[in-house]
Symmetry: C2
Subunit: 368 residues, 2 copies
């Protein structure tokens, strides 16, 4: 995280994202942060929390700003950005935080002051009540300059993003939309379809969702997300998303043909290909995914159990690379999955926890 170079920031839209960016900019040293929101409650809460100085309208907010961050809902973005550009001073830089970039960049036209932006922070809730200066720490923040964006503007937005603790990644607006169609919007569609397919049927009286294991739960965690946000995102990015869906269907048809033909060779190559891609993806987070080992530990559902386990591992300097809890029920407890690096560490952790009376099952994460 670096200090912010901009002295005067205006935030248009003081919901969770806008108010969090305002708090972060203040912490990074911005001298003045003014804010406006068409929803007076959002504006009042953001001001109460010390995120922004509230002003009476959009024009007033941007009149003396060096940098304007537009954090309006996706559906309102093009119009709001257009209005900001019409009112903002010549020397001002304007950026936004929308999940799609085509429509908003189109609305900015060839205005050299505009640079699109999109923080990947997994935040859904709209209100500023839970705003936090830490929201963007460690997150990827796409920055989408157009052909006419002035380099100086890009530098200013880059500086804001870094000051908020995020990692700026530059990409063209169209490429951004095709990228998030594959990495985010398609997964959201599939999570919804999986929930609706499994949830709307009964198989001999059994509800598939009651019988669902951890895999279906993991794969639908993002399903059923706030429709006020997601309908607009899906429609805004409908072209790129349709392309991703068509490609998905094409690949599903390939699998269906292989199943119908009993083509074991195709299926083995296809799984092997997926395994290679997964290994590459994990390599962005872990130094050596092939070394990762998984420990599955059955635990009871009461306070103190988790602390005890992590204390024991910490005391032995066993670094936990990743973990999650698959909560089964209050009566039956759940399964704690912990990843450690290397078979030696896995064995050390297993022995340690077994000494404390836990049942532990270990396995390599990548099992090819």
């Amino acid at each position: 995280m670096s200090a912010i170079a901009v002295r005067t920031l205006a935030v248009i839209g003081t919901g969770l994202i806008g108010a969090s960016a305002a708090l972060g900019a203040r912490r990074a040293g911005a001298r003045q942060v003014v804010g406006w929101d068409p929803d007076p409650d959002h504006l009042a809460i953001a001001a109460e929390r010390g995120a922004v100085e509230a002003v009476a309208g959009l024009a007033e907010a941007v009149a003396h700003a060096e940098l304007v961050l537009v954090a309006a809902p996706v559906g309102d973005l093009p119009q709001t950005v257009r209005e900001v550009l019409d009112r903002a001073p010549v020397g001002c830089t304007v950026t936004d935080v929308g999940s799609t970039k085509g429509p908003v960049c189109g609305a900015a036209g060839d205005d050299a002051r505009f640079v699109g932006g999109h923080p990947i922070c997994g935040a859904e809730t709209r209100g500023p009540g839970r705003a936090s200066a830490d929201l963007f720490e460690g997150a990827t923040w796409f920055v989408t300059p157009t052909a006419t964006t002035a380099p100086e503007r890009l530098r200013v937005v880059h500086g804001l993003v870094s000051a908020l603790g995020a990692r700026p990644v530059a990409i063209g607006p169209d490429a951004h939309d095709r990228l998030v169609a594959v990495t985010s919007h398609l997964p959201h569609v599939l999570a919804n379809v999986m929930l609706n397919q499994a949830g709307s049927t009964r198989i001999d009286g059994h509800d598939p969702l009651q019988a669902a294991g951890g895999s279906l739960r993991d794969m639908t965690r993002i399903g059923g997300a706030n429709p006020r946000i997601w309908v607009d995102i899906f429609l805004d990015n409908r072209e790129a998303l349709a392309g991703a869906l068509a490609e998905q269907r094409r690949q599903l048809e390939q699998v269906e043909r292989a199943l119908a033909a009993g083509d074991a060779g195709f299926l083995a190559r296809w799984i092997g290909e997926a395994s290679g891609h997964r290994r590459r993806m994990l390599a962005t987070a872990f130094t050596d995914p092939g070394e990762l080992h998984r420990l599955r530990i059955h635990i009871s559902d009461r306070p103190g159990v988790l602390a005890g386990i992590f204390q024991a591992l910490g005391a032995e300097r066993i670094n936990v690379e990743d973990f999650e809890l698959d909560h089964v029920s209050s009566e039956r407890g759940g399964t704690l999955t912990v990843l450690v690096a290397g078979p030696g560490e896995a064995e050390r952790a297993r022995k340690l926890l077994e000494q404390q009376g836990y049942g532990v099952v270990t396995a390599p994460v990548i099992d090819e």
Copy 2:
């Protein structure tokens, strides 16, 4: 967990599942557990680990058994179960652990001694080296009696499953295969397709997998799984899986049509439906999913951090309902997500952790 009623158990196939069941049965009080495996290494390791007394062949193993557990790979199951039934005494009960039930139940025909079984324990690795008596604790274990299964046989298998700490769920073989097609095999196919779609393309030079957020990572955790196991499972259950894939494609086409028509009403209803299903699914694990709150905590990557956080929560008697770590990188640390029940607990946890210098963002899990 209950004591086992069976005195003499034979395990055919002493890989991870077979050897773990043997260890569990011994712990539950089985007097004699004999084992055989066509792979002499697997048999030797299982015997060394004290899971089974090794015998020289299948016929010898089953000759005096009250109960035979067949834990062969899916592809070999029908033939092995047939052979066991041909050799086992009249009073013997025979069960298996295969992920598909159609072919193996077909091979058993109308033999009243056979009851199919399928533990959902998320275990992939084949070798007995990591076998554990705890592998099945808290797991669902499908039990698939046929029309000709004698009630007494079902009772014996039910008893074994309970003695191993699992929860027996009775279901017909065909219904089982359709159920796991939707809850397990289809998710595996989709995880592979997502990896292959995102992994085999570059968008303006960007690798989608490098840009992937937590959602894609969650949704592909089961992708690229051991092809030696999964090709057989897919092919064995190809009929039910093809049905699930066709239904998936049909639902994807609906979404594509809604996108093309800009049908916001359809999309909102469709997301709302998914949200309802997700709430119902979470209700199997949590008393009141609507009360769940998520805390996102940015943490550094070093031993002791996790212990500190869970200790602090434990000391305040704040019960952690679920959690996971989204590991970003060694340099930038990761995000710890913790679920607690109720807005009051969430606020208490947030304040506590902020006092310790952590940045915390809270939100309700179900945001409709």
